[in-house]
Symmetry: C2
Subunit: 135 residues, 2 copies
Amino acid sequence: MATGKKYTIGKLSELSGCVIQTIRYYEQISLLPEPDRSPRGHRLYNNDLLARLKFILRLRQLGYNLEKTRDLLNIVDGGKYTCQQIKKKTLQHAQTIHDKITDLKKIETELLKMAAQCNDDKGRDCSILDSLFHT
Amino acid sequence: MATGKKYTIGKLSELSGCVIQTIRYYEQISLLPEPDRSPRGHRLYNNDLLARLKFILRLRQLGYNLEKTRDLLNIVDGGKYTCQQIKKKTLQHAQTIHDKITDLKKIETELLKMAAQCNDDKGRDCSILDSLFHT
DNA sequence: CTTGCACCTATAGTTACTATAGCATGTATA
DNA sequence: TATACATGCTATAGTAACTATAGGTGCAAG
């Protein structure tokens, strides 16, 4: 099997949906390895790097921050993991997401409660501002 | 009715629960006005400023960013608002919180679905990584 | 007298990008 | 042949909302 296809950064951007600056940024912080370069000095990517970038983007979509993303990449790169470990980490992350949801729900409830107390007046006597000022 | 009590920034920090640096930061970005100064140049706050700071902190707790916070402060400062307006803004903000909750719930569902597909194996054949790599 | 405390200013660091300036090179067109 | 355009490059600054640090002042207690 010959060497696979090579993409410029523009093509990688197109294929991954990730803007060029972010790709370079991920390289800078070593989430992506330094790719080959053309004689002109342009970055050349292959399918492996495309897959790695997509993996990173998927984790970001799922709310992993870059540190957690790096952590997972290291584990996968090292090859010394068990499916159990990955599951545990996944559930831990799900829990942090769940905690955020809980916080936001509390906030939503408070906001709706405040809004419901409003007499919908055209005046300046505002129960919302009152409760904002006295809590 | 004599002039009210004056607090140093340390006291204001204690009374409000806001750290000193943040108080100075809010002053720097003009969320808080420049307070009086002692002969030594130390900031001196009064109850009005304490109330204003608490109001800001409350909005921050409720998920308002500084721009939205500033917006509300301007409205209150201007005095030209109706209770209706405030209610509308409150409900709009509640909606953005709700949207965040919706996003996070989607993420949580996906994470739990992935975790549920895991065979809990001690091996390296991991369905979670598979789905992460192929989505 | 010197140690400690509370305050001061100005500046840099954090996260995860995003945008800009200024440059090189290859291709398409006038 | 000249020039414009596209694509790439590096380095640096800006964003949000703080947080932390360095270096300095002045007062009071031991």
